[in-house]
């Protein structure tokens, strides 16, 4: 008997598969010059995104990083609107202005990807303050990378969340590299979660390849936040399969290392194995899901290709509200 529901298993697996299919496709399109400025591929990190977002309410807030396709899709944004944004088309979720790094829609609780490393946690902390001021039953989640945790702004924000007991969850999407820099080379004190202890908030290092574990820890952190007990840090260990940016082929990690993660710790394979053995899903259902996400991504690419470019006359629109003289 499994303690997971069939419905949750199916939707989580589909969510991870969608991200994988989306990223593999976007990578190829990017290499073909279809995506201006390239992408930061999140293949390999699906369980962090789906584990976290499946533990949240749709109206909870997230603020994220330069690598955020997976968080955005897991939040329920359609492959169409995300792909169109990567193409910088007017139908994209940020009207084509943002591109890969700046996906967002406040009305759906997505306070944006970010081109500035470490900026997301501060914004999420501010949203958590807003939630607290209003007395809303919501939480706010800030994503940051293993590299981003070395920005001072991240810890200034965490300190505020602690002293004011803000409903904040900090997710360290720890893929162990910041561009070409291995986490241990730049992280004083070793385990990043230990830093959290110093700031006086519960901090856990968990297996970010296990979607169930990520979900459970996030759910616990959410309960704590809703109960007014304050923030939590979850340091989810994961791995990115591709280079930092599209086309990057560095010598900073071995092929063996990459292969080991892909074959022994792939979040999708691991979950399929578990769900199958617990009788939650059949092989043919898995195949059907694969087919389904493939179609969704194909449709998204088609949509993005056919979508119009933004109106070039719109460059002055929304520079300000209009009260400052803008359009």
């Amino acid at each position: 008997m499994s303690n997971l529901s069939k419905e949750w298993a199916h939707s989580s697996l589909r969510g991870m598969m969608l991200i994988r299919e989306f990223e593999e496709t976007a990578d190829k399109l990017s290499l073909r010059g279809k995506i201006p400025g390239g992408i930061h591929n999140s293949s390999g990190q699906e369980a962090v995104a789906v584990g976290v977002l499946s533990a949240l309410d749709p109206l909870d807030v997230i603020a994220t990083t330069h690598r955020s396709h997976h968080h955005t899709l897991a939040k329920g944004f359609s492959a169409r609107e995300v792909m169109a944004e990567l193409f910088t088309k007017s139908t994209g979720v940020s009207r084509g202005r943002g591109g890969s790094m700046h996906l967002g829609d406040f009305h759906r609780g997505h306070f944006g990807g970010n081109g500035i490393v470490g900026a997301g946690v501060g914004i999420a902390m501010g949203a958590a303050l807003g939630i607290q001021q209003r007395g809303d039953a919501k939480v706010s989640v800030g994503f940051v990378g293993d590299g981003g945790v070395n920005t001072g702004r991240t810890w200034e924000a965490i300190n505020m969340a602690v002293i004011w007991k803000l409903p904040l969850i900090v997710i360290i999407d720890n893929n162990q590299y910041a561009v070409e820099t291995f986490v241990d080379r730049v992280t004083g004190g070793g385990d990043i979660a230990k830093r959290g202890e110093g700031f006086g908030l519960p901090s856990y290092t968990i297996n970010g390849q296990d979607v169930v574990e990520v979900n459970e820890y996030t759910a616990k952190a959410r309960q704590r936040a809703l109960a007014g007990e304050g923030p939590t840090i979850i340091n989810a260990l994961t791995y990115r399969y591709y280079g930092h940016n599209v086309g990057e082929k560095g010598q900073y990690r071995t092929q063996d290392e990459i292969l080991d993660w892909k074959t022994n710790r792939d979040p999708i394979d691991l979950f399929i194995a578990r769900a199958t053995s617990e009788g939650l899903i059949t092989d043919s259902e898995v195949a059907a899901l694969r087919d389904d996400v493939k179609k969704e991504v194909e449709d998204a690419v088609d949509f993005a290709e056919k979508s119009p470019q933004p109106d070039l006359n719109s460059i002055l629109v929304d520079v300000d509200s209009g009260l400052l003289g803008g359009k």
């Binding site: 084509g96 943002g98 790094m101 001072g152 561009v179 080379r185 730049v186 992280t187 002055l316």
Partner: protein
């Protein structure tokens, strides 16, 4: 020893390597601190091979901690070293603004001591969107105590970084990302380019374009098109925005009376406004008409290539500006 293949001139990025190498040979107090410098050689290969050649003492890989990176350089400079803090994109300097504008820029005035610090970053509009395309040079030029270098070609990169590495004052060294791979000749180890000396890219008869950085390329294209219509325009590349070569600017205004000042930073409150205002004050009688400025619109840069191109001066806009002053 550049990494360029034989018979080829070095790139803009390799010119930086070359200048830094030669200066480290002269002065072992120089070191470079930034992210992904040792193996990757920096995001634009601007320091590739330097760690391997000189040792890790001279190239330090840093955590992503811009405020602390600039502080590290500042404190070490006050201690007598000559650091290059590589901020990768100038956009990321915004997380270290106190360290740059309140601290580094003011130390000399407050304590009478040198601050031999170079802050290097790529700058300007390319792909990458609002957080990777800022042109902040006006902000730094506005700040007393800072020098601002804005090279437009390999020769100037090398000559200016060598000067920066002998400067007792903090230097903001801005390299345009769209120029990274552009090849050109470079000077030898004794070729230093003084700060505050503009370069005449091309002499002309009818009008002058005063510019810097990537906009020099735009001006060159415009000049070719204008020549086919019988308009011979001079192009002046400022090379540093502070110190500013006011002699070259005044001379152009006096000789032509028809001047365009151009860059790709937002025009409102920019260095082009400073140049136009001071040149007008000093040379009002020589002007045939107002100095025309072109620059970027007052808006962040979009990730969409069409929108980002539309935000900055096009060759057509440059041609139109020159025709306007020629028509006075």
């Amino acid at each position: 020893m550049t990494t360029s293949t034989q018979n080829q001139n070095p790139t803009y990025s390799e010119a930086f390597q070359s200048g830094v190498r030669e200066e480290i040979y002269r002065n072992r107090d120089i070191f470079i601190l930034g992210t992904d410098l040792i193996e990757r050689g920096g995001h634009f290969a601007q320091v590739k091979g330097i760690a391997q050649e000189f040792g890790f003492q001279h190239v330090k890989d840093s955590p992503i901690s811009e405020a602390a990176m600039v502080s590290a350089g500042l404190g070490a400079a006050m201690y007598g070293l000559h650091p290059i803090i590589d901020l990768n994109f100038i956009d990321f300097s915004l997380g270290a603004m106190d360290e740059i504008i309140n601290q580094a820029a003011k130390i000399r005035f407050m304590f009478g001591q040198p601050v031999p610090l170079v802050i290097r970053a790529t700058s300007g509009t390319a792909l990458g969107g609002a957080h990777h395309c800022n042109s902040l040079e006006s902000l730094f030029a506005h700040t007393a105590g800072l020098a601002v270098a804005v090279p437009s070609n390999a020769w100037d990169v090398k000559g200016l970084i060598k000067t920066a590495l002998r400067s007792p004052d903090p230097v903001i060294f801005l390299m345009h990302k769209k120029l990274s791979g552009v090849r050109g000749e470079i000077g030898d180890e004794n070729t230093l380019i003084p700060f505050g000396k503009a370069r005449t890219v091309k002499e002309g008869k009818h009008a002058a374009i005063i510019t810097y950085g990537f906009t020099v390329v735009t001006a060159q294209k415009a000049a070719v098109a204008l020549a086919s219509e019988g308009i011979d325009v001079e192009i002046i590349d400022l090379r540093t925005l502070y110190p500013l070569d006011t002699d070259a600017i005044n001379s152009a205004v006096q000789r032509f009376g028809r001047v365009v000042v151009a860059d790709e930073a937002p025009m409102f409150g920019s260095i082009t406004a400073e140049i136009a205002a001071t040149a007008t004050e000093a040379n009002f009688g020589s002007l045939k008409g107002p100095i025309v400025r072109i620059g970027s619109v007052r808006a962040p840069i979009s990730a969409n290539p069409g929108m980002s191109e539309a935000a900055i001066p096009s060759v057509d806009a440059m041609i139109a500006a020159v025709k306007k002053v020629v028509a006075y």
